[in-house]
Each structure stands twice: as C-alpha cells, then as structure tokens.
Symmetry: C2
Subunit: 336 residues, 2 copies
C-alpha cells in the first residue's frame, strides 16, 4: 500500500537533522560541521520509492479556467495569503490559490512532486508571488517534492540571487528542485547548481524541449557533428553529482521519444523531467528508455491533462484529475 502523503521527507535538513548534530555539540567544541544534507538524487529516489509514483503534477493555473468548485477553498486561500479584508489586489491570486489547493489535494495521492510554473503566478503581480509561496508550502506539506519551474539563467551574481529566490529558505521558495536555462554557460549555471546542492535540491537543465521551436536552436548541428542539445546533455551530465542518480537533471521533451535512448547514453545518471504528456502531445509508453537506470530516473510531468481532465464532465474536476493522475502513475510505474 502506497502512503497517501509523505510529510517527513527523507534527507532534507529539517529539525531532525539539526537535532542529530546538536547532540554532539558542547560548549567549547569547535563549531559543528555544515549540516549533511542528503543529495537530491538520493532524496528523489527515496520519494519515488515511497510514493510509488514518478508523476509530477504541473500547476500553471489560467485564471479563466479555474475549477468552479474550488471557490469553496477561497476563504482558506485568502487566509493563507493574509489578505486584508476588502483589498481587491488579492482577489485573483486568492482564486488561483484556491484552485491550486484543490488540485494538489486531488492529484497528490498519485504524484511524487508538484511543479508550479512561476509565470502563471508572476502574471498576477506580488499577490501572485505570495500565492506561489503558499502553493510550494502546501505541496510540501502534502508530501510532494516541489519543482519550481522558472527556467532561470543569468550571469553569476544574478544567478545566485535566483538561487536564493527559488531554493533558498524563506523568503525563498525552498523548492526541492528548479528548472534552469543553460544558454549562458557553466559559470552562469554554477550558482544555481551549487546553491541547490547545498540544500539537497536539484536543478533540471533544458536539454531538448518539447515545443516545435526547439528545432530552431537546440537541434542546430555543431561543427563537431552532433546537435546542440547533445552538447547540452554532456554538460548536464558533467555538472551532476551523486550516484546512482545525479543532482543535476535534464528537461527532455517527451514529444521526441526517438531522442531518449541517445539522451540516456549521454546522461547515464541524470534524472529526466519529461514534460509534454497530454495537452502538448506525447505518450507514456514511448518513455521507456528514460527509466533504464531505475524508476526514479524519469519524472513524468503533466499539467493540463490532469487539471483539465474533467472539462468534458461538468463539476467533476477534482475526481477526474485524481483519476487521470492515477492513470498516468500506473502507466509509468508499470513501464519502469
């Protein structure tokens, strides 16, 4: 029987880790060594095993397509935002957060992680960013890993600030993993990767995305013969630390399954984040090569196919989402 939630995630530097260090400390002793955090690859493997799921529920709420029934959660959402009574600046963020709470409750039992998409919260302004903070905390409390899908990338000093924003402790989002854009090269990636690593978190780098335009740049053939995405794959493999699963992952579009075997060859220890299931096209059965190193080596992300599963069946969004997430979970689990 799979656990419904996993409130005490293994390995994260929480109170229990602190306690185990504190036991050895006495006045006059040298300061304790830095907290040993369990590396992301190990945390991911443990979470996948405990929840028997590789499914990641994407949270990218369109204010025009929220679940009508989620309005019941609005008072709870408004309280979570600590929104002053009558302050209309929080109204849309409240509705979006209410929807996200309902979506997490519905999908969490079949999932190992939630992946909020930063853009859909940023478009609501500061109240949206506050809702994003609450979504991350709520998903974590539901036993899910949190992948902050923000695809950041910038010069090193700026990348360090993004790292604090996404994987840092509050007021950071304290995410378990992020997505990042590798275009600016290794020194730009380093603060994102090492900032995450210090917290037991991971970074998924864009390698070959699932949108048609990925062919414009990522598929360009290099003078050395391979496409650009293969070079990014090699860089991703080199940046990761940890066995058998590394702490630097790859975003690998599920709409190009013919690439997956080659990706696995270039990135033998790399967790793959496989978007593109459902609304963006893509088929779970085609993903088998991703799971070659083990069940946790491939995460199957789905957003609209879960949140929108009930669109054809009025007023049954939560139930339909739960069923669709479970269908995906079972399909992926049996493949891997």
């Amino acid at each position: 029987m799979r656990p419904r939630t996993l409130r005490d995630q293994p390995g994260r530097g929480g109170p229990s880790s602190t306690d185990s260090h504190a036991q050895g400390g006495e006045g006059g002793d040298p300061p304790p060594a830095p907290l040993e955090v369990e590396p992301f690859g190990a945390r991911l493997a443990a979470a996948v095993a405990a929840r028997e799921s590789q499914v990641v529920v994407g949270i990218d709420p369109d204010p025009a397509r929220l679940w009508p029934a989620a309005v019941e959660r609005a008072p709870e959402a408004r309280a979570l935002l600590a929104a002053p009574a009558g302050d209309t600046r929080f109204d849309v963020a409240t509705a979006v957060l209410a929807h996200a709470l309902a979506l997490i409750d519905a999908a969490a039992p079949a999932c190992v992680a939630a992946k909020p998409q930063a853009a859909f919260f940023e478009q609501l302004g500061f109240a949206g960013w506050l809702a994003l903070e609450r979504v991350c905390a709520y998903a974590r409390a539901a036993g899910l890993l949190v992948i902050a899908d923000a695809k950041r990338g910038d010069v090193p000093s700026t990348a360090a600030a993004y790292s604090r924003a996404l994987t840092g402790p509050a007021p950071g989002l304290d995410a378990d993993a992020i997505t990042a854009n590798p275009l600016m090269g290794r020194d730009a990636l380093a603060p994102l990767v090492t900032g995450a690593r210090r917290r037991g978190a991971g970074a998924f780098l864009l390698v070959r995305t699932s949108n048609p335009g990925a062919a414009d740049v990522l598929d360009l053939q290099l003078a050395t013969g391979e496409p650009l995405w293969e070079r990014l794959a090699t860089m991703t493999a080199e940046l990761g630390e940890g066995e058998p699963l590394a702490d630097v992952g790859a975003v690998t579009g599920a709409t190009v399954p013919e690439h997956l075997a080659r990706m696995r060859e270039l990135m033998p220890r790399t967790p793959f984040l496989l978007p593109g299931i459902g609304a963006q096209g893509g088929d779970v059965a085609a993903l088998a090569p991703a799971f070659a190193p083990g069940k946790a080596a491939g995460l199957v992300s789905a957003s609209r196919s879960i949140a929108g599963a009930g669109d054809a069946r009025a007023a049954a969004h939560a139930q339909a989402a739960r069923e669709e997430a479970e269908r995906l979970r079972e399909a992926a689990w049996n493949l891997a």
Copy 2:
C-alpha cells in the same frame, strides 16, 4: 539643455492616446480601431534624443550593500508598499526599495532607462516583487524607460504568461522592454515579442552575453561555420519590426567588442543592450560600432559602476552615482 525628466513619454498608449480616440467616438459609431501604439524602436529613438543619453542604470540591489543614506527614504518606501505596521515581512523589501528610489533619483538625470533585475527582487519573496512593481512605476515617473531584465523563455503558453507579467498592464510590470532567452526557439519567443509589440514595448534577446561561460554554448561553432551567437543574431534581426530601429533588440556583451562590428552587420536595425560596463569589465570607447545606425542603436547599461561609485567615498553614494552616470552619458554620447 537636456530635460531632467520626460514624464510624458511619446507614443505610449496612455490617457492622451485614449482621449484622441474618444474624440471621434459617438453612440452608434463602430468601435474605435485598436489604439495605435508607437513602435518601440521609434519610442526608444525619441527618448534617447530627448534625454541626450544612451545610459541604462541597472537596479540590482544587494540587501547587504544598500546606500546607508537611503534609510531616509524608508518611510516613503514603506508607504509605497502599503506595508501594514509591524509586518516584518516587508522590512528588507522596504530597505531595498528605499535604496532604489535614491538610486533612481541620483542617476535618472543622466539616463534614458532603468533596468531592474528581477532576481534581486524575487529573492525577497512577494514583498520583493511588490517593490519591483514600485521601482518600475517610480522609474517611469522619473521619465525613464523601464527594461525588465528577467531573461525569460518558455513554451508558448507559459511565455504568454511571462509577457503579461512583464509588459502587460497592472498587475503586470508594464515595462517598456524586457530581456528574453532565445534557447527554446521562435515559437517560444513569439508571445514575448508580440505581447510587447502590442504595447509599444520591445524585447532584447540574448545574443552574446558578457560572462566567461558564454563561450561554453554561445560561441559553439555550427556545422555551417558560424558560431551559435551569429545564428541567434540573424534570428533576432528577422524577428524585429520597425525602421530605422527595430522593436527586437539584442543583449550583446560589451566585453567582446571585437564582435560588435559583425553583430551590426548581421543586425543592422537592432538596438543593442550593452551590459558589462564597469564591474564586469568593458570600455565605452570600444562600443563605437554599436552606434553606427544612430545614437539610439546602442544602450550602455551599468549597475555596480553607478550604484557602487561612492564606495570609496563614504556617505557620498548618491553624488558619486550621479557623477558616474553623467560621465558614462557624456562618453557614450560623444562616441555615437
């Protein structure tokens, strides 16, 4: 004599544009045509001419290095954030906003634009995002164009949300331009470019950045012989609309001036955003090729070299920033 501020920027679809349409409207008439917004290239050229400046002041405040004297602006900043009394979640954002207000006041007279760096606000959580909203509004009121430096890039539906967040009206930042990452290709860029265009705003795409790691990816030689950044330059030129200056710009690292002539050849109508002056290295005199099509074709961005100009002279940060911005302004203006 240059104007100190430019409160009524030309061409933006503000109240005056609305009024001019409303004058022609009567009951029963067909709905007015969409507001004609002046394209970003034309707005940029007009702003550079009016302010006699191509200098962009970067706003990326490190909470550990704020101007001590800016604490005087804290009450004003706290009021702008509408922060409830005693709510400590706004404290750091208040200090950062106070610093940014002082920096804008000091540098604005020598600048044509302000470039807030999203990461330095996101790291403060939702209160930081609110401060970012206020920074954008304050810079605009000081007569500056606002370039939201966020380097976003994602699949089309997500890119559309980023577009609303950055160049959309409130709760969007209503920025005059953004920076964007082209790795995911044309369909991913389209919502950012067209979303900006509809508002008379622009998008500066990463072409060749100034960090050492840019060599890892952007300098890779393609099978067709040219480096990747040249391909991105061609794409940037093709995406831009407008004469003589296009509304899609290029982020072109000022630390590689040897590339500038080639960039100008590939992107004859493209505004260049030239970071890397000062703290990141780079020399204004080397930038001459950027300005070949006209004074507004090159924007000279500086962050730490302006904000930190007074570090050697205690308690004179604002004056030193003003002088450094003016020095840069004059150097660039006389080159172009």
